[in-house]
Symmetry: C3
Subunit: 132 residues, 3 copies
């Protein structure tokens, strides 16, 4: 399943944690796979309390990707950034709750916006005989 | 389970999507874990239509890893690149198809070739009571 | 479930492979999700035979994160490093053994220590009708 996000800038970090919390089953345990089906966007987990953390992430990814690119569409840096951050996160859940740390939030990362983007997700099963 | 790939250059991006498609079950849903059991190689998802995207990835990872290394085997940059890109991808599937975006392909990343390399995979189960 | 690690430096790479091996079930197959519930730490897989590889990783992540940060807590570089390396690894297992490559070890990555940190884990189920 999936939902959409609308990005408004060339590079932008959007907190999608609340949308993802709603799709968890009330019982059982496993892991939530969040997959971004784009090649110039990504998803990461980081601090959400201070928006400067996301802004720092954007600025430093911009810095790290500076240089020349062969790819003629002009979004070469966004493709590099997508592979550096990665197209998915996998978060454990139990009893209807994501097992994130106190400061962790899940962020959609736009590297070539503004665009309408999709966020795919899939619930994966915990091992039945997991007695931990 | 696993299959092999033969790399021909020091650094190389190889599209392994077709080999991975063949191992999916015809029915059911879950996620395909692709794990690279090497410490100087990795796996990523990016655009496959324009081969320049992979070439850009190689060149910029080479740039980002420049500098001095303590590791005496001469492949210090490859170890850094392996951790920056990561040893695995996890892709949702359903009804025999990988749920990749239109432009997404799965790439084996060689950082210290040429070598014979292994690609491991494991099918993970979707949650049975997943009604989304 | 989880266990704790105590880090002793600002930046440090700690091998946690042995603790993780102990939590595997003797039978069955699936994947072990290792999740770090912190925003200035991460987890990666790399070579463990030569400790210089971990030291190189620390030094080059320090280099890559140099520059100015808006985040006022002084640990801006650690937040960037956390997103570059990522908060989780997913390792296939079978018959009580992690399916790591010969040289692969799992490392907790401290980027803003010294601190007491948590390592969360969850066993995920392999697909039952997986005949590969």
């Amino acid at each position: 399943m999936q939902f959409q996000v609308e990005t408004k800038k060339k590079m932008e970090i959007l907190d999608i944690t609340e949308q993802l919390k709603r799709i968890l089953p009330e019982q059982g345990e496993g892991a939530l796979l969040v997959h971004i089906p784009h090649t110039t966007a990504a998803v990461t987990i980081n601090e959400g309390a201070d928006p400067d953390v996301g802004e720092d992430l954007v600025r430093h990814l911009e810095r790290l990707a500076q240089g020349k690119y062969l790819h003629r569409e002009g979004n070469g840096p966004a493709h590099l950034q997508a592979s550096l951050i990665g197209p998915s996160v996998l978060v454990p859940f139990k009893g209807g709750k994501l097992e994130l740390g106190t400061w962790q939030r899940i962020f959609f990362c736009e590297f070539d916006g503004p665009r309408t983007r999709r966020v795919q997700f899939r619930l994966l099963a915990g091992l039945e005989n997991d007695e931990q």
